[in-house]
């Protein structure tokens, strides 16, 4: 706070903007902390709904494999559809 006051004495208008920024940051901080209080991730025994087949990102495993195959051949990126490795054409 002392820094902000000093800045206002020296720079006037710029100091006021600085103070507003600090206040807005503080408000944002408070808001994000409130978010932590309400966020309650599912407990280990509550993951049944997440495990249902309808929760898959790819609806049909066979169709997903076909899509991946087409993607890889078109892009020349075998294994490039996943996170680890790939793209070199050496596998």
């Amino acid at each position: 706070m002392a820094i902000a006051v000093g800045a206002r004495e020296r720079h006037g208008h710029a100091g006021r903007i600085g103070r507003v920024c600090v206040r807005m940051l503080a408000a944002l901080g408070v808001a994000s902390v409130a978010g932590c209080a309400t966020f309650d991730p599912p407990k280990p025994w509550e993951k049944g709904d997440l495990a249902r087949p309808s929760m898959r990102l790819d609806a049909d495993p066979l169709a997903a494999r076909a899509m991946a195959h087409v993607y890889q051949s078109k892009e020349g990126a075998a294994g490039g559809g996943t996170v680890g490795g790939g793209g070199c054409g050496c596998n």
Binding site: P44, W45, K47, G48
Partner: protein, 163 residues
Amino acid sequence: MREFAVTLLVAMLVAAPARATRTGEPAPAFALSTASGDTVELARLRGRVVYVDFWASWCTPCRRSFPWMNELEARYRDSGLTIVAINVDKRREDALRFLRDVPARFTVVFDAEGRMPAAFDVKGMPSSYLIDREGRVAAVEEGFHDDRAAALEQRIRALLERH
């Protein structure tokens, strides 16, 4: 600003999660019903070694733990072991379908509200709690590992031999 910090600190202390069930402590009491409507009460199993297992139909390792628990039940029932498998499925049909695939020859009870896993503070699925004859938690097992089954069985045998 200081007031805010104090408020935040208090809020964090209040919001601290429930303490985990630790070995040596009394196991949380439960009374749950089986598929046929009988009530299984932990307090009434005092004097027996109880193996409480939390499972769900969507839990893949549970599928492998059932045959092992069937064996345990067959081998140690007469020596004083009771296996109570607590199902935590939200839908009873899911659990019953699982049981048709993987038959259980031990006690299965249902807790769709998830009150007991919360009381035991289950950290992962499946989780098992070995409870001694005095009703204290002797061992906590997270997950099912084939290579740990033998050691766990040894532990059960040691508890059964203690009177």
